[in-house]
Amino acid sequence: MATAVGAIAHTEEHSGLWSWLTTVDHKKIGALYGITGFCFFLLAGLEAVMIRTQLAVPNGTVLDADVYNQFFTMHALTMIFLAIMPMGASFFNYFIPLQIGARDVAFPRLNALSYWIFLSGAIILTSSFLFGGAPNGGWFGYTPLTDRQFSTGTGLNFYVVGLLILGTSSLMASLNFAVTIINLRAPGMTMMRLPVYMWMTLVVSFLLILSLPVLTVGLIQLLFDRMFGTNFFIPEQGGDPILWQHLFWIFGHPEVYVLILPSMGIVSEVLPVMSKKPLFGYSAIVFAGAAIGVLGFAVWSHHMFTTGLGPVPQTFFSASTMAIGVPTGIKIFNWLGTMYGGNIRFTTATYFSVGFIALFTIGGISGVMHASPPIDGQHQDSYFVVAHIHYVLFGGAIMGIFSGIFYWFPKMTGRFLDETLGKICFWIMFVAMNVTFFPMHFLGLAGMPRRIYTYDAGLGWDTWNFVATIGAYGIAVGVLVFIVNFFLTMRKPMTATDNPGTAPRLSGPRPRRRRSMTSMSSRRCTTATRSGTCVTTGWRFRRSRSTCTCTCRRPRTTRSSWRWGRRCSVSARSRTSRLPGSALS
């Protein structure tokens, strides 16, 4: 952590502790989010390992029932809200200004406030272990189990208050990101030239902006039920527990896309560079992302098929759930099309991206299976669903984040992570991930319910549970290899350049380091600088060299860029390969 401080602090004069507490710099805040998120990733992983240890053999005695309930609830809450979302926010913070050519995000102080509110919410939620027990009602906290009748401890209060605080932080961060991407693009950076990663960020921001208030209302009602004696979710008094499920999943399903879309964006950045080809079907992948965002709000009740919605809602939500598989499939074929015929460089980032596609496809297919209410009824609350969610979130979101870490680490710290250790890390995690979660499909079909803290021998679940536990230890080893890699790398000198070996090298003078970024996940290779956008008009591939060269011939200008007067005339004259911003920096 201390070493990471030194590397990123080049953007500001001071790098002491005080500057980290008071910083409003997007790169530093990005680093804070990343490091905090990774620490919580380790904590949630530790909880997962404890869960798997308990389930390794029948009638396990490692955890008792109550602690087990706390652990699986906190594992989910920590992974979702304190690990994957902040690690996504870390990349958002770092790369939004770079990829759109802005100085910083639109509201730097709001950005810092978002982080510190996030941290306090995270501490409050996690500290529940010390104050009478953590939440134990599952991450979606179904009522009436979590209402005052059946949950008398304080754990669920931490759940409600913690999520309200974290929701406030996410809302502020999302508003900030959305305004930044809409309003702070460099001249020439039109919406249809935005790197795909920026598009995914924009969709994620709007998903959160529009779904978080619904969760807030649900949490407020649960809080009133628990604290002030109302009866929103208590059926004897005229309340309705199903209402909680609706309110939660109107948030909860868009939230799933909040977790996966950033990784989809990362893969869209990595694969073109590593295949030395522009992204296949840019507009298709952008519209597919937007379609996922819109349809994501119309599928929530597929979590509730077994509650007896009636035939018409079931038909609607079944159809919409199948429909949302289409844009997801479009993206997968776009990534395959990007790699097809490319001169692929097998870096660790490539490995993780390809791993993402494979594992996410498995999770996606088992997801579409549950679009069918009869099948969903069989799988509901079984380990099959656990397998599905982990293929999507571990095989999808986490693999994508690791791809992004290996791809962008040189840009963020100036140092290249070790490729050999990286590939070892990938193979251990990839194999162990499948060893852990694939048997859960079998367990689910064999009737093992999720969230049971132990089981008797002779039910046919012993073997696969043991295998899954071995796999969980394997994942832990893989993560340890990554941590070793991180600390070894941070001791090495900073050798990375502006687009360090990952993006195509632009011929001609480069703009100042860390102020611009080249992305190939657009129709053209796009470089945003603070004063303009360079869009390539031609591609040259050199298979013999490790980078491809794209020549920036004529920066295109749009109407808005004419307001820039002097700079625009510079860029309009430069028919050579000079970047418009290079003269200024």
Binding site: A178, V217, Q221, T230, N231, S560
Partner: protein
């Protein structure tokens, strides 16, 4: 160069100021917030097991008056924005003060209503009407209260030596967006709770 740097500070891609765009997107989020609260009210509208029921307890004349007060505050808000935009600082201050006073009056009506309901035995835990009514109108009242603090901060800031600065009109305009939104939400709430017939 200094001029170019100055332009750079204020340049936005869409031409809309960041803060104004933020407020618009935030209000979109608020729509979902009140949408969920109002939906809950409608879902539980006829689910009260014990009284008092809404048609027994709602005092429509009083609340119509408070609705009128809140609507008038939108008028004074518009005039405050007009004053800010046209450099008529005294008008802006007067109208901001009027908006604040009308907002406080609305909250006074709401306090009176809550207290009289309490006296007649309706509290949040009484029945579904009590729970949904108090949570919905209570959060609306909270929004009015936040708006009053917001406008008060603008009013006090306008008495500084530099006033509200060069972006005076923008600051008041953004506050106006929020205030009008809270007003519009009340019109929906008033229609649904007080004017729609029960059963």
């Amino acid at each position: 160069m200094a001029v170019a740097g100055h332009e750079m500070e204020h340049h936005t891609t869409t031409g809309i100021d960041h803060r104004k765009l933020l407020m618009w997107i935030f209000l979109a989020s608020e729509c979902l917030f009140f949408g969920a609260l109002i939906s809950t009210y409608l879902i539980f509208r006829n689910d009260s097991i014990v009284g008092p029921y809404p048609d027994e307890i709602l005092n429509i004349p009083v609340t119509s008056t408070s609705t009128f007060v809140l609507l008038m505050s939108s008028l004074t808000m518009v005039l405050a924005v007009y004053g800010a935009q046209h450099g008529r600082v005294v008008m802006m201050r007067t109208m901001l003060l009027a908006t604040i006073v009308l907002g406080i009056a609305f909250l006074g009506f709401q306090t009176y209503e809550f207290r009289s309901f309490g006296a007649e035995g309706l509290v949040p835990s009484t029945n579904q009407f009590g729970a949904t009514f108090f949570v919905l109108t209570g959060f609306h009242g909270t929004h009015v209260g936040v708006g009053i603090l917001y406008l008060t901060s603008l009013l006090l800031a306008s008495f500084r030596r530099t006033g509200l600065g060069r972006e005076r009109a923008l600051h008041v305009d953004i506050a106006g967006l929020y205030w009008h939104f809270v007003d519009i939400v009340w019109i929906v709430i008033f229609t649904i709770i007080y004017l729609m017939p029960q059963h």
